[in-house]
């Protein structure tokens, strides 16, 4: 239990660091030195020190948005097995709860954006409402596959304990599809290239960044922190799938896990460096690919399991 809590705290502390890795990779591809790996901590400290300016159009929902989205992400991490260790809380069906909790965070992010009466933020909000619908379908498709493998609806049963899911098993071939599929979901849910561009300042091309245009100070810090935690959540699941878990010694396992996690973040960085963002009407097709892959994986495992 104490170990789980320690890992949870570590996850929150390390999430900004890992996100900075992406920036470093992008800088490398751009031939630049890039900002230091601790840049996100500096940004957070800077934001937390500031005050805020609120639009006259906004209501209390504008302030509630950042809190709820951060809260949802941090709570989700409590149910996430990190490095093969059991999470703090776990029960049958917790995956559904977490997915819907992240949905609650999304609801409040959208509502906070709509609060500003800004056409740009409305545009971002409409996209934020649209793409995750397909993501959710794909995620539940993956859950169905996991349920066929384990007979459980519990994150702890998938990624911790005696028989975790992993690429290096008999069923691994199907899980390869899942890894790709879930990586697409990761990119979409966390507003990364090729779905969204976290670096651009052209409001018309953005989803997540445009929704937070009016937030400032600690509120913006909460939003940033929330998105670091959310990315960490998704990246951990991908890392757990590709990480074999069989090094014997706990310390080695832990080290191996963080290497895998780093790999996932580097992969996100490489994606962002070598790809351009899709035109908005192409995005649904890209996201649907993840659903198709998960569906295909489920179909081919059906015969496997019997």
């Amino acid at each position: 239990m104490i170990k789980s809590i320690a890992l949870w705290a570590l996850a929150i502390l390390l999430a900004p660091f890992f996100s900075a890795v992406i920036l470093k990779v992008k800088a490398f591809f751009g031939g630049r030195k890039g900002s230091p790996l601790l840049i996100n901590y500096y940004t957070l400290i800077k934001l937390f020190k500031k005050g805020s300016v609120y639009s006259t159009s906004t209501t209390f929902l504008f302030k509630l948005g950042p809190m709820v989205s951060l809260c949802a992400a941090i709570t989700a991490l409590m149910f996430l097995p990190i490095a093969g260790q059991p999470p703090i809380f776990s029960f049958s069906g917790d995956v559904i709860f977490i997915l819907y909790l992240l949905g609650l965070g999304r609801f409040f992010t959208i509502v906070a954006a709509m609060d500003t009466a800004s056409p740009f933020e409305g545009m971002g909000a409409a996209r934020e409402a649209y793409f995750p619908i397909i993501c959710e379908a794909a995620t539940f498709m993956i859950l169905i596959l996991f349920y066929i493998f384990t007979g459980k609806l519990q994150l702890a049963a998938y990624f911790s304990g005696g028989h975790p899911l992993g690429l290096w098993q008999a069923a691994g071939s199907a899980l390869l599809f899942v890894v790709i599929s879930f990586f697409i979901i990761l990119l979409t849910e966390n507003s990364r290239v090729p779905v969204d561009d976290p670096a651009t300042h052209l409001e018309l091309t953005m989803i997540h960044e445009v929704m937070v245009l009016d937030h400032s100070g600690p509120d913006l810090g909460f939003i940033e922190m929330g998105s670091f935690c959310k990315l960490f959540f998704y990246a951990t699941i991908v890392a757990s799938l590709i990480f074999p878990f069989e090094l014997g010694h706990p310390a080695l396992n832990m080290g191996m896990f963080f290497v895998a996690l780093l790999l996932v973040y580097v992969a996100v960085g490489v994606m962002e460096s070598v790809m351009a963002r899709y035109r908005m009407d192409r995005v649904p097709k890209f996201v649907l690919t993840s659903f198709a892959l998960a569906f295909f994986a489920t179909i081919i495992t059906l015969e496997f399991v019997k």
């Binding site: 805020s52 149910f79 949905g103 909000a125 995750p132 066929i148």
Partner: protein
């Protein structure tokens, strides 16, 4: 049974008092609300006590010397009675300040009369024990609600809506009559007994499903719903959408229980109907510009979720998987209660908005949260609940349905495919509902007013605000402490006797305990973040200024994203099932004239029902027009001929 009939008497007297007192407007409303409210309150207490203290009570009277009308309350009836009386009680209170036009006093009094009749007939429908009593109450219910729908009969649109509803409820009733007729043909008794051959059972179920489905608003029999709900006064919409359409669900479950045939076919039919209704309902809802029409389409969606749950339960029964059966039925029944709560809350909120602004058009509103705090916040809670998000009540029932669906993955191939589709549909429905309600909350309650109608509104009338607060409170309480409410649903399921032995409630209540724990964790984290935020903002300068326009200095409220633009890209994705009809002139020249843009999402059921059913029927009757020629002698000849032909059969 005594208390139940006492409450019925109170409610019925409320309508009559109101009619007698119509010249004194306030006294009339007070008498109506008090008597109806007291009756509903008594009925609610009675239903709760009967739900938790099992033991069937029945009562019967003889009508017209030959026909016996008998009524019985078992767990399932009691569960539906709880929803009916709770929502009707709050709707009656709401109506006190909502019906605010003294110049329409007589019409208001008539409205109270039919309102009381509607409540009474709904209560009798779910307790009826034989066909006669059932159809008797069912018809009163349909007629009473028809007169409530045409309250504003001066508007031709409302008359059309009423007519459409009238046709649908009677064609539906015809199917139910046909189903009951087959049952009577085999058993020779008006009682609900299922001693029929298997093929007859299947036929009866399908006929009854169409009949009850048209009342419940199952796709494609939902066409009347989006017309009738906006036409009716809002407290009536709340009752009709919240509980009246659920009598259709009650009918489906009851007929399933009566037939007692465990073929997977029933579950398959119900599940497929549920998935189609669920997804299409929410897609059409997303395309609406009228606030109440949007909510009406959400009823179609939620009926879909309920049917998915019940279908999962039926499949669980036919595969002898008690866990799946109980999860599906309990999830479906709990969603009946949850939907009754949040949908009546949303309709009451919409009613308050319409009363204060005078418009139902979503794109004409905006910024209402600033002046209508209670309406706005309760509407937000209702929106979160209907989107199925924790920690609100919609999540609890959807969670149970999900768990039931995952159980189905282990069964045979058909059940596997259906369960897979059900899980994915639920996920898609959840996402679409979130998109739809962020649209409503964002466009109606947030931002800046888009028209003069939405400016300078205020919030008045405590009788309207209190029911909304109570319902919003219920949404949170069920979401945070689901245990006792899941137990209620389980009691309702228990009376169905779907499992061979007694079912232990413990594992199901354990699940609700888990939700309660997870929600508590969420609130604890939220509290910490709130404290952190307070600390971070202590002593900081907090300013106010206009919204950042990305360098543009002359923004106007017309530039805000509208509901239509918000939904446009999602609707484009569903174009094949939701064809979008757009109308706008081409813009010409350097100084173009004033222009406009209209869009309308076509409901394919409505579109095709006209082409496929109504037109051929009209054509057929056109061909038979020669029979009606106006010659009285031949008419008498028809009568004679009919009697002679009948003599051969009797």
């Amino acid at each position: 049974m005594d208390l139940f009939f006492l409450s019925i008497l109170f409610i019925a007297s409320g309508g009559i008092f109101a009619l007698l007192l119509w010249r004194r407007f306030t006294a009339m409303k007070a008498a109506g609300v008090l008597a109806i409210g007291a009756g509903c309150f008594l009925g609610l207490i009675d239903a709760l006590s009967k739900l938790f203290n099992p033991g069937q009570v029945s009562f019967s009277i003889t009508y017209l010397n030959g026909l016996s009308l008998s009524f019985k309350i078992d767990g399932l009836s009691a569960f539906f009675l709880v929803a009916i009386f709770a929502v009707s009680l709050l709707a009656a209170i709401y109506s006190f300040h909502y019906m605010d036009k003294p110049e329409k006093a007589l019409r208001t009094a008539v409205n109270y009369l039919f309102f009381s009749l509607l409540i009474v007939s709904m209560a009798l429908v779910v307790t009826a024990e034989n066909m006669i009593a059932f159809m008797f109450s069912w018809e009163i219910m349909s007629l009473a609600s028809f007169f409530l729908v045409i309250y504003d009969y001066q508007s031709p649109e409302n008359r059309k809506a009423g007519y459409l509803y009238f046709v649908f409820s009677h064609v539906g009733a015809m199917f139910i009559f046909a189903a009951f007729g087959i049952m009577y043909g085999y058993t020779g008794s008006f009682g609900f007994t299922g001693a029929l051959p298997e093929t007859a059972k299947i036929l009866v179920f399908i006929l009854a499903f169409i009949g009850f489905g048209s009342k419940a608003g199952v796709f494609p029999f939902h066409v009347w719903l989006p017309h009738a709900h906006p036409a009716a006064p809002s407290h009536i919409s709340a009752v009709m959408s919240g509980v009246m359409i659920k009598t259709g669900i009650y009918g489906i479950v009851r007929i399933y229980w009566v037939l007692d045939l465990h073929t997977p076919l029933f579950g398959e039919i119900v599940m497929i109907a549920g998935m189609v209704s669920g997804i299409l309902g929410v897609v059409y809802a997303l395309g609406q510009h009228d606030l109440k029409r949007l909510l009406a389409y959400h009823s179609v969606e939620n009926i879909g979720i309920i049917l998915i749950g019940i279908g999962i339960g039926m499949i669980g029964v036919s595969f002898n998987n008690p866990i799946m059966a109980v999860l599906g039925f309990a999830g479906g029944l709990l969603h009946v209660l949850n939907h009754a709560i949040f949908k009546s809350l949303l309709f009451m909120g919409a009613g308050a908005v319409i009363q204060k602004t005078g418009t139902r058009s979503i794109d004409a509103l905006g910024g209402l949260l600033k002046n209508m705090k209670i309406t706005g916040v309760t509407f937000l809670i209702g929106s979160l609940a209907i989107s199925g998000l924790p920690p609100f009540n919609g999540f609890v029932s959807e969670f149970l349905v999900y768990l039931g669906g995952f159980q189905g993955l282990a069964l045979d191939k058909t059940a596997f495919v259906l369960s897979l589709l059900a899980i994915v549909s639920l996920a898609v429905i959840g996402g679409l509902a979130l998109a739809c309600f962020t649209k409503v909350v964002g466009v109606v309650f947030q931002g800046e007013p888009r028209s003069a109608a939405a400016e300078d509104v205020n919030e008045k009338g405590p009788a309207m605000l209190v029911p909304m607060l109570v319902l919003a409170g219920a949404c949170v309480v069920i979401g945070v402490f689901p245990r006792v409410f899941v137990l209620m649903a389980l009691k309702g399921v228990e009376s169905l006797g779907i499992t061979s032995g007694p079912v232990s409630f413990a594992p199901f209540l354990q699940m609700t305990g888990n939700i309660a724990l997870a929600v508590a964790v969420f609130f604890a984290v939220f509290l910490l973040i709130m404290v952190l935020r307070m600390v971070l903002y202590r002593g900081k300068t907090v300013g106010r200024s206009g919204t950042w326009g990305c360098g543009f200095t002359q923004p106007t409220v017309k530039m805000q994203y509208t509901g239509s633009s918000y939904a446009a890209s999602i609707l484009a994705f569903f174009r094949p099932v939701a064809p979008l009809h757009e109308d706008h002139p081409v813009i010409r020249g350097r100084f173009p004239d004033k222009t406009y843009y209209r869009s309308h999402v076509n409901d394919i059921a409505e579109l095709h029902m006209g082409n496929v059913i109504v037109r051929p029927v009209l054509w057929l009757f056109d061909q038979l027009r020669w029979i009606q020629h106006g010659d009285i002698h031949l008419y008498i000849g028809y009568i004679l001929l009919a009697i002679v032909v009948l003599l051969f059969f009797v």
